[in-house]
């Protein structure tokens, strides 16, 4: 991996962690602080008025699912060449995508006030993981082709 590639990898990983930590923090304070709960509720209703939130959720689920499947096809095409690190990356892709899809389908604003924000943050984390793992695989394939 080049130096720039390593930097991108680290930045991507940090962003993922921030998304997951953000989801926890947002949910925690929405449950603990009345002002935060009301702010989140207010935003929920504002977003629902302005945007088709349910439709956007489905678009998010379909997009990430397609990206995950595409990544897995790429992964299984070269499965013999994959090391332990690649397996872990692929596992993280599946884990985060499943988490996002499960959460988005099972939960709702009525069940959990911070639903939209948490769902978006899970989705962002899954997307970043797919981008990171996908880029890694593509670069690796190109490097091998060049050799």
């Amino acid at each position: 991996m080049t130096k720039a590639g390593k930097r991108l990898y680290i930045v991507d990983t940090v962003l993922e962690v921030l998304c997951l930590a953000g989801a926890y923090i947002v949910d925690y304070f929405t449950r603990k602080k009345m002002g935060m709960a009301r702010y989140v509720s207010y935003k929920n209703y504002s977003w629902e008025t302005k945007y088709p939130m349910r439709m956007l959720s489905y678009i998010g689920i379909i997009t990430l699912s397609i990206l995950t499947v595409a990544f897995l096809i790429l992964f299984f095409q070269k499965i013999q060449e994959m090391g332990r690190g690649e397996y872990i990356m692929a596992g993280a892709v599946i884990l985060l995508t499943v988490l996002y899809v499960w959460y988005t389908l099972v939960f709702s604003r009525e069940i959990q006030r911070s639903y939209y924000l948490v769902s978006a943050l899970y989705g962002a984390a899954a997307f970043l993981q797919i981008v990171k793992a996908g880029t890694f695989l593509i670069r690796r394939r190109n490097e091998k082709n060049n050799k």
Binding site: T13, L20, D27, S41, I88, G91, A92
Partner: protein, 360 residues
């Protein structure tokens, strides 16, 4: 490789915590053994003077005498610790509460779009789930005297049709100061065996909608819309809330002082009477004889002057439940920014207000 594994482990841990946090909506009831004995077995036998059914604000002594079985109300009462948040998430109840008290989350009585009181059907379910019928004496309390969560719940109970509603003056702070027993753990409310007993709301006239307010402003000469908010909120310097961007007041509103700053408590921390309210109203040329509608941001603080008037037998008051929160949602609503008693006031519409006045 180690870094990768560590980062993945960290992500998994965070995810697990978040998901576990999410699932906490189904609150588990803590069934720890209570510290105190049931009322009948208590050694404390506090006696206090009986109070009128309409009297809302009561002393710790009176509440203890109810618990001790020395009041008419002792046969059928429920004590509610009122605060926002689930029992698990609310620190007030968990620290210590009055023996036998249940935690009442204010979300139980307010819908989450406009924070208005829920529908009659919803309130009936909430009340009967807590074992409350129209004949139950409901004793509400908060953590401190200026907290209006208990007043909000008490108001809701009166609106619903409960005949005997009380608020512990000074809240838990006064209770502790008086030296009475507290307990920890959790009490599980028992659903009422019979129906509530009257159609809810029994007193719809206690609440005004925004349309009713506008109608009264146009057609009722004696109508006064009284803001129970801070001076800065009244003057339009701040909305007072992190989730409200616009600041101002409905056009025509007068200032009735704030409850959060202790303006409705005397030097002993007890709720004041209508004599104090009368003085506040007279500052704006209004009186206790006017048709008064109290409001605040979302309807908590404004219940205090309502209850003060209620317990002194007045009937010419109501609560504009939507408050400033609902008023500022419609760009065409007329507003005032500044002191209407001076020249330093601007009359515009909500649409002309800036969006940078949320409380920091």
């Amino acid at each position: 490789m180690k870094k990768k594994i560590l980062s993945i482990l960290f992500c998994t841990m965070l995810t697990t915590f978040t998901v576990l946090g999410c699932s906490s909506k189904e609150e588990k009831k803590d069934t720890k053994k209570q510290d105190t004995k049931p009322a009948a077995e208590q050694t404390s036998k506090v006696e206090a003077e009986a109070v009128d059914t309409k009297q809302v604000y009561v002393t710790p002594e009176w509440v203890q005498s109810v618990i001790d079985g020395n009041q008419d109300e002792s046969d059928n009462y429920v004590i509610l610790e009122c605060s926002w948040g689930t029992e698990k998430d609310s620190p007030v109840y968990g620290e210590a509460h009055i023996p036998g008290a249940y935690h009442m989350n204010t979300d139980n009585i307010e819908e989450d779009q406009y924070w208005n009181i829920r529908s009659g059907e919803e309130i009936e379910k909430v009340l009967t789930d807590f074992g409350i019928t129209k004949d139950t004496t409901v004793i509400c309390y908060g953590d401190i005297g200026t907290n209006s969560a208990d007043d909000r719940v008490a108001f809701t109970a009166l609106w619903a049709g409960v005949g005997n509603v009380k608020c512990l003056d000074g809240g838990m702070e006064a209770w502790t100061k008086a030296g009475y027993d507290t307990e920890d753990g959790s009490n599980e409310p028992k659903t009422a065996k019979e129906a509530f007993g009257v159609e809810i709301p029994a007193h719809p006239e206690y609440i005004l909608t925004i349309d009713q307010v506008k109608d009264k402003q146009e057609n009722d000469e004696k109508f006064k819309l009284v803001s129970i908010r801070s001076k800065d909120e009244f003057l339009g310097k701040t909305s007072g809330y992190s989730y409200i961007d616009k600041a101002g007041e409905p056009k025509g509103a007068i200032w009735g002082h704030d409850t959060d700053d202790g303006s409705y408590l005397d030097k002993n921390g007890n709720t004041v009477g209508t004599d104090v309210l009368k003085n506040y109203l007279s500052e704006s040329g209004a009186s206790l004889d006017d048709d008064l509608a109290f409001y605040c941001g979302t309807g908590w603080r404004a219940t205090i002057p309502f209850l003060i008037m209620y317990q002194e037998g007045y009937t010419n008051m109501s609560l504009y439940d939507g408050g400033w929160f609902v008023w500022q949602m419609d760009d065409s609503n007329p507003v005032q920014v500044g002191d209407p008693a001076s020249d330093n006031v601007e009359y515009i519409t909500v649409g002309g207000l800036s969006n940078d006045k949320a409380a920091k």
